[in-house]
């Protein structure tokens, strides 16, 4: 016992009381902060600003002004889990001819000529324990915009919905879709 006491700082009673007081305040503050963070998280506090992409692809131009349907490029959306990002080859079907004066298209062409993949930054992402299947939702008649917002008006694509479990559940309930955990959680 003696030896342990020797290692402790010698505090007066007053110091001890102040110290405990600070401890209590910090503890309560920590819990409060954590609660706020969890609350914000649940409310969709994860929404982040639109990321900067390696090539400034303009969805408003393609999907909006030119009216190209989403599934023209995101070809997996009706047949499989992932909607997929088009290959550069597919971009070059058009851009071998059009828009050659645009510096971003030139950047694209440079990737194509060097045979280098583009490192797109992911905008929409679900956690690892969720199995989301595009195909099933499209077959059920959902619009892309339900989850992704009005992409044809976005110059830079940004996540607009929380895509949290509450949102999934609300929709599943409304549409009388499966509410079984195992349907979506893997």
């Amino acid at each position: 016992m003696e030896s342990i006491r020797a290692l402790l700082p010698r505090l007066t009673l007053r110091q001890l009381v102040v110290l405990s007081g600070i401890g209590v305040v910090l503890g309560a503050g920590g819990i409060a902060t954590a609660a706020v963070l969890i609350f914000l998280g649940a409310r969709g506090g994860t929404l982040r600003p639109a990321p900067e992409q390696p090539i400034a692809f303009d969805h408003a131009r393609h999907a909006g002004e030119l009216g190209i349907p989403c599934e023209f490029c995101h070809r997996g959306v009706e047949t499989q889990a992932a909607a997929t990002i088009p290959s550069l080859e597919q971009c070059m079907f058009c851009h071998a001819v059009v828009g050659k004066e645009n510096p971003e298209v030139q950047l694209l062409a440079a990737h194509w000529e060097e045979g280098r993949a583009v490192d797109w930054v992911r905008v929409h992402r679900l956690p690892d324990h969720v199995r989301f299947v595009h195909e099933a939702h499209i077959l059920a008649g959902l619009e892309c915009s339900t989850c992704h917002g009005e992409v044809p008006t976005m110059k830079v694509v940004k996540q607009v919905e929380n895509l949290n479990m509450g949102m999934c559940m609300a929709c599943h309930r409304e549409m009388s879709a499966s509410l079984d955990c195992a349907t979506c959680h893997k």
Binding site: T79, R131, E135, M165, G166, D180, C181, A182, H185
Partner: protein, 268 residues
Amino acid sequence: MNSQHEMAARAAQKFGAATIPSDDPDLDQEGRRWGMVVDADLCTGCQACVVACQSENNLALNEEQRVLEGRAKAWIRIERYWEGEFPNAKARYLPVMCQHCGNAPCEPVCPVWATYRNPEGLNVQVYNRCIGTRFCANGCPYSVRYFNWWNPEWPDPMNDMLNPDVTVRTKGIIEKCTFCVQRIQRAKRDAVQQGVELADGDVSPACVQSCPTNALVFGDLNDENSKVSQLAESERSFTLLENFGTDPSVVYLSKVDPFAEPHEEEGH
């Protein structure tokens, strides 16, 4: 029980989770009830199912230290029981995985409803809901629930072989056999895509698929024409720990031994 369920339902509603399925026994009669038949007379002990399961379900590597600690994970394991003494000693094999009980001891003890029985008879473990109390593992009489004492590690580039359809479980949660629920979902989606009904034999968990002697058979126990429900009718069928009243979805067929000593037959 009832008030507990109401509370669960309220909590689930509030937090946007699924409503907890009821205990209503009739529920199982309507839909499917996935089940397995394990023929102890065909299991040779070859371990193909064990490794197939580890590959399919991203199980952490069972390093030597983990085995020594008794914390190795094997969603399906082949238990071996000795009988008798040399020269009449025998080894008997029994593959044991989650029994997907109709009346599962693991379900009521979970304080956060991370494990429940789904409408197709699966005992589901929801990893993101699990808080790691391990009550369920203690409650399971078959010892088939495994706790993650560590985060799994696969040195680069071994993580390239991980199955994208199955979550990698982190430290602090319970995991167990899912009857390869990802394969069930995939088969269902394929059936919808092709515009056909799911047929018997369309779904095959990894263990069943690899088993060279077809000692494992998988299917819908509620479909009287399925291979599993026909095999389950066999005179040789039994379930593990029948007297516990767990109502397992895994039915075993007894080992046949034409030279068995008479006293060994007392068991049934």
